[in-house]
Symmetry: D2
Subunit: 334 residues, 4 copies
């Protein structure tokens, strides 16, 4: 960490600051320039509160050299993590294909889609039971009943399942759910993250609409700090000024995250674009960019889906997309 002092800092102030750093177990070195004096800090600076440091009146700016996340950091865990979800692997060359409806609606619906996406190559079944909706007047999901129907589909097809949690008080309901999803709006619901850190659950953590990659990794760190390192990251679009698509899918996040962390990265083209016509193009782009997994909304009757139908593809379209995904994955991982 580098600290730039203001011009008018006295020698006494500077020495007092250095002493404070040294009392925290850090080594310091001082370099005096014509306009600025700089204090470099060596040691474990991850516990220094940048806000506090910047608040000191003698300090002009502070720059971290090391990232503040540790367990998620690739520098200290060079090999990519491989996570095994009841046999469906992700990371280190293993591609996970997650498919299913936005919301679980009926037994027939979820069983039909589950069987169909399994046949087309999906390795995990998705389905929402608790739905975060912008309006309190929109359909909010089937809750416990939705989880039960997912479990039936899991039993019948053998596919592991993923579903979103919105409230830590519902955790018991997720006992048979293989991957617990934390949605974009809850990426910084720190109390939820902490609690998940004390479970052994695989967590799929979605990037918030206005969150940087480093904030995403700090949220992963919240879970990992509690002892749970089974985390899959998910890029699902960020909010920008462009309105033609619902959000802007940030695919550069894939190589960037692979550089910063060992955790696997999934891309969700359905929620990112909000437009089923663009799902194929963006799913293939995601795989070509190096994603470890793709999550696609599939509905057997998108015109009557109770939620987000506009972004779902049909089982037939999914079958074609899944097949292309595998071919592109082969080309880029050779």
């Amino acid at each position: 960490m580098i600290t730039v002092l203001k011009n008018d800092t006295t020698v006494e102030q500077r020495e007092s600051l250095c002493k404070w750093f040294e009392d925290m177990g850090l080594s310091t070195y001082v370099s005096e320039g014509e306009y600025h004096t700089i204090i470099g800090l060596i040691g474990d600076t991850s516990k220094i509160d940048i806000g506090l440091l910047e608040s000191l009146s003698i300090i002009e700016s502070v720059k971290r050299i090391s990232e503040p996340f540790k367990k998620a950091n690739r520098k200290f865990h060079v090999e990519p993590s491989v996570i095994d979800v009841s046999g469906a692997k992700i990371g280190g060359g293993n591609l996970m294909i997650i498919a299913g409806p936005c919301s679980v609606e009926t037994e027939e619906q979820i069983l039909t889609i589950a069987q169909s996406v399994k046949n087309s190559g999906a390795t995990v079944l998705r389905g929402g039971a608790f739905k975060p909706r912008t309006s309190p007047y929109d359909f909010q999901g089937l809750h416990a009943e939705g989880i039960d129907l997912l479990l039936k589909a899991k039993q019948q097809t053998g596919l592991p399942i993923i579903s979103e949690i919105m409230n830590i008080n519902d955790l018991d309901l997720f006992e048979g759910v293989d991957i617990v999803q934390v949605g974009a709006r809850n990426m910084q619901n720190f109390d939820l993250l902490k609690e998940l850190g004390h479970t052994g659950k695989v967590v799929l953590l979605k990037r918030g609409l206005a969150n940087t990659l480093k904030e995403l990794l700090m949220s992963a760190e919240y879970i990992m700090a509690g002892g749970n390192e089974n985390i899959i990251l998910c890029e699902r679009g960020i909010r920008t000024f462009e309105t033609y698509t619902r959000n802007t899918l940030d695919l550069s996040a894939i190589p960037a995250l692979h550089e910063l962390t060992h955790l696997p990265v999934v891309v969700d083209p359905s929620h990112a674009t909000g437009v089923s016509r663009f799902v194929e193009a963006m799913a293939l782009a995601g795989v070509a960019a190096g994603a470890d997994g793709i999550m696609i909304e599939v509905h057997n009757d998108p015109e009557h889906a109770l939620c987000d139908g506009a972004q779902s593809v049909t089982p037939d379209q999914f079958s074609r997309i899944a097949s292309k995904i595998k071919k592109v994955h082969e080309e880029v991982t050779v």
Copy 2:
């Protein structure tokens, strides 16, 4: 609500769609253009799921004419709401000045600041006991002990108090807290909003970093739908590409919200800019733009604050700012 049909829609499809609308209690009217046919909908369309409608293959686009929020809507509640918080009023010309430290740290700290800001004209005392921090390794607040210290300050000064809630399971601790704050990161923590809707607590709801004004009002609607209409909105900066300030304070939100809703609006220049040097300018700008309240972080020793010191002003600075705030408020409300 207006629905634009695709060119190749058949008359049968169109009639079937109109029937579906009519079954929902809506009146329809159809206008045929050269390139497009349009169906207008009359009646209560707030329960129509736009996602579902857009998913129909015959539909090109959908445009709401009426806003989807009802209880927060100024069209149905023309007079501005005035909220009385133990004698400190906000709205309808009443200015609320909220001041205090980012975090409650010690009894001496909170009592000293409380007395000082009261003397300078603050009408509500703020202080964080539960702190949402990006890093799991940063100070997270004193929790129950922090609330207790705030209550002491309330007792000693008579100032009503505001503090942030992060987890609905902590609600009992907030019994003596006059205003419960929902932070920007929890603006779409819908489960938390729903629960607060079943209490009688005054809620200060902060706009999320990437949330539109209409989404903010939909989140207010979540609380109001449960029966609790005591809501204060808060603009605290949105996330943009500019990095010189921490966030970009969107002051146009004030006249815009006053047009859309009857709920009062507070501005938080401290969190928005993250820079104590800019707090005075932005506080005055907020009042000049018509804000019903201003929330300012004050710390008697900003250089040693455990959290967000960089954005705090000293009690002396606050005294000067509060005095200017009142003068500008008088000029603009004449």
Copy 3:
């Protein structure tokens, strides 16, 4: 076009407005709702100034149903345009690979790179002679001398060349340049666009950092309105809050533009990310998303490039990337 009137509009005002529309050759239809009256407009509304219309006191909102761009619009030109640049084709399944240095520096540099990228499969050579730099103190390009060196490279290799124009007064220098590039910062330099509309030059038009897809198409329309329809669009990243990459490459723009327009679309992963390590991933993602061309910065000595070296790849890296690009292109266009 749909015009929503305010509640309190009188019948006389409405009829006067309808007459005004009809005088402009448009047909109107009126639909009265409980809260709103709507006037629909049928005919050529592309010349209506939305700003003017919205300014009328009786109007609540205006919504275009048809896009305001005509010559670029795919609705009126269903087949994708194929542009032939001295034998290098783009569009309709033809992939263009543009490669070369950010700036032309020396004869040896440009000749070496030109030969190398040709051998690796590039179909067009790029090289900057006029460089838009944020700082007036940075290298601004070799100007006329740079164009001359590019022409030498064209002669020696047979590759068509592309270079950026910043000032219409320089147009004569571009006589032998096959594609004139308009940079992101000049996307709305309307005087420059108009002048290019009166030439027969192929123009590669880059999307501005804060411009929507529709604005990009309106800028293309500026050129096309003058009679020049040889336009290639280029996605090169938009500005968002994320700072890990220089800009955020918006790959959803590719399927979106293919839906809106018949013009071909190129992706520039080098400028978008600003990081050479990410160029391969994003080039492949671009092709997988359906791009008609890829533009990559290549430098034989990136460590000493006078400009933007951080984002250049070496000729060896380019050779490997170009080969993968072709394979992915084959997989996705089957």
Copy 4:
């Protein structure tokens, strides 16, 4: 400037880099940490090309300590600049009020408005003759005729005038124009900036929709580097995800620019919000935030303005706003 080296840099590489810096006239100092080695640079680093430096394979990151703008920098010019435009002063406590129509339309229109805004306290008259419009089919301004009409209004009222230039080839037409405006879309039209640097014209430079404050200052530096230091900066809104207002007026830019530069700052609430109802609130907020000037669109018949009528206020509204502006200015500058 601080340069952080990668872990695996050899001593030879480091010494070679230091020698290269020293050959450029800079002093260096080296600090070795456990994970990183840092080279600090002392001297005039404004000519170092950061892109070039970051491209070197041994470098992890580079951080400027000093800003790359010099003539605009407040560190080297502590007093705020006062610019005198034919008697209308701005800066250092002098408030400039600019008012007039978006476009000059007719002689009667501009003369009427000019007299009216003068009576209400405007100190400069605005009026567009060259209009940058998103669509080629929209009204583009009266060009030379518009300038002539402005000059008549100047003669009749004695008010200095401001008008926008879009093409350097039109410069001769601006001989009698007191302030030449560079619009947001041309903020990085570097050729235009350079040419203006060689004139003695006062330039009002608008911030681009996606440009940072530092980029705005670098564009000012382009003009100042040529010798022309008569520059007024203008905040007119940036592009964000919020669509309720046309752009997001970034008022924190005012105290931030006052800290970074000695140049005066004007706020344009009309273009920023695009909504005449919000102009008063944002004009007052701008003054309260410390703006040195306010620019407001005024039209005697906003319902029939040929351009941007939606954001214009009437002369009566302007009169009321101007009077409040002065009162708030007095309160905040005491």
